[in-house]
């Protein structure tokens, strides 16, 4: 009975945690050889919640897919690159979070992490009034930030209400 309770308690945050990164496609500069890519692979896999990591040396693209219920923060992905002596550029992300702020100045909060982004459109602006206060899934680009920093703006491509 105790075990069932513990399992239920452990499972509950997983089910309830809607705010999370689902996929991060990070462009990395400076990787010239297989060990470079392997080092990135090992570092990314060390982040709790990471499911799969693929590194393409010829394009510098690191594709990270995350498990549901993860609490990984963007800073951790950047650190995994920096600790290996490389440089991270723009990141394409698919992320769930709560849309706060106003329709004119929307903010995406990825609860469970300290990540918080001002949203700006990559193309035509969407009417976000109906999404304010709701959990949404955003696909967009996090522009390159200085070493040790994470961009405070997420340039969105699509926003949909999370199921």
């Amino acid at each position: 009975m105790k075990k069932i309770l513990v399992a239920a308690l452990l499972a509950f945050p997983t089910l309830a945690a809607h705010a999370e990164y689902k996929q991060v496609n990070l462009t990395v500069f400076g990787m010239d050889c297989a060990p470079c890519a392997h080092a990135i692979h090992v570092s990314m896999k060390g982040i709790q919640g990471v499911d799969t990591v693929d590194v393409d040396l010829n394009t510098g693209l690191v594709t990270i897919k995350l498990n549901p219920g993860n609490g990984a923060a963007m800073k951790q992905f950047n650190q995994a690159v920096e600790k290996n002596g490389f440089t991270h550029k723009d990141a394409d992300v698919v992320v769930r979070g709560k849309l706060t702020g106003t329709a004119a100045a929307p903010v995406l909060e990825v609860s469970g992490t300290q990540d918080r982004y001002a949203l700006s459109p990559t193309a035509a602006s969407l009417d976000l009034a109906t999404f304010v206060g709701k959990t949404v899934e955003v696909s967009g680009v996090l522009p390159q930030a200085p070493k040790g920093k994470v961009s405070d703006t997420l340039r969105y491509k699509t926003i949909t209400e999370a199921q």
Binding site: G30, D32, A34, A37, Q76, K83, G85, Q114
Partner: protein
């Protein structure tokens, strides 16, 4: 301005940093360990000359304190009959080494390409084995070794240049020779071999190395004709699969100014090196 100052400081350092796991076999190169990466290298280095063959084995350990600062140590063992060969810093000898390498310039210019410079500084301590040849019976003292390497790494090509300097202290009016060494290396990875990280990664190098050793000081007097200058050229190959690397190379002399009666004639140098790289999966929590 800061970069210029750093560069000036690095050139002012006396010097040592031979490439191991990620680079060429004989030459100076810039790669350092990732943060928390542990590397272990073990190799066999041979020098063959008119007086026989000298083989050295050695193991080195490196640990990345930061993404650009690695501490390392080298533990040698030398055996064989060619022990009257000239002092060498390019070929590991019987000295223990402990030091640090600092990649003070690191510029990533595009996917897969970076330009960087690394300075190394360390202490050299004579090992337990007795010297032979012109160094036999010499009172031994520790020394300091420093080096500077700079160059470019990319998916297709590598180009590094480096130089090093080693100076030993005097002991009872004896002193081992100062050594100035330099190297230039070009590496190439053919298009067919620019593959994924889950396959063997190969690249080939052409390595040009040179060394000038100063005079040996014995009982306060310079040993005549003990100074040497040699330049070597040859190919090497590096193969890496995830955490293991194997490299090997051979060099022949292209210039030699050394006393035959004192050192004999050195004909060939060769090396095989095995590396194990242990990367850290540690990342901070957010």
């Amino acid at each position: 301005m800061k970069s210029i100052l750093l560069l000036a400081c690095a050139f002012a350092l006396p010097g040592m940093a031979l490439a191991a796991d990620h680079g060429p076999v004989f030459s100076y190169a810039t790669p350092v360990n990732s943060q928390r990466e542990l590397s272990f290298d073990s190799g066999v280095f041979g020098r063959n000359g008119s007086r026989g063959t000298q083989l050295s084995t050695g193991s080195s350990f490196g640990y990345g304190l930061t993404p650009h600062l690695t501490v390392n140590a080298f533990i040698p063992a030398t055996f064989g009959s060619g022990g009257s060969l000239p002092e060498s810093r390019i070929m590991p000898g019987s000295e223990w080494y402990a030091g640090a390498s600092w990649r003070f310039l690191h510029s990533v210019t595009s996917v897969g390409k970076r330009i960087e410079s690394t300075a190394s500084l360390g202490a050299v301590v004579p090992g337990l084995q007795r010297d032979s040849g012109v160094l036999a019976g010499l009172h031994r003292a520790p020394g300091v070794a420093g080096s500077l390497a700079t160059g470019l790494a990319s998916r297709s090509q590598y180009l590094w240049a480096g130089a090093g300097y080693t100076r030993f202290a005097e002991s009872s009016q004896d002193r081992r020779p100062d050594t100035i060494s330099w190297s230039g290396v070009y590496g190439y990875r053919p298009a067919k071999l620019r593959r994924g990280y889950d396959q063997w990664d190969y690249r080939g190098f052409v390595e040009l190395t040179g060394e000038h050793t100063g005079n040996v000081l014995r009982s306060g007097a310079i040993v005549p004709d003990s100074s040497t200058t040699t330049v070597w050229l040859g190919p090497s190959v590096l193969a890496i699969f995830k955490t293991v690397a194997i490299s090997g190379g051979v060099q022949a002399p292209v210039f030699r100014d050394a006393s035959d009666s004192m050192y004999g004639r050195e004909h060939v140098r060769f090396a095989i090196n095995f590396s194990y790289l242990k990367y850290s999966s540690h990342t901070s929590s957010h």
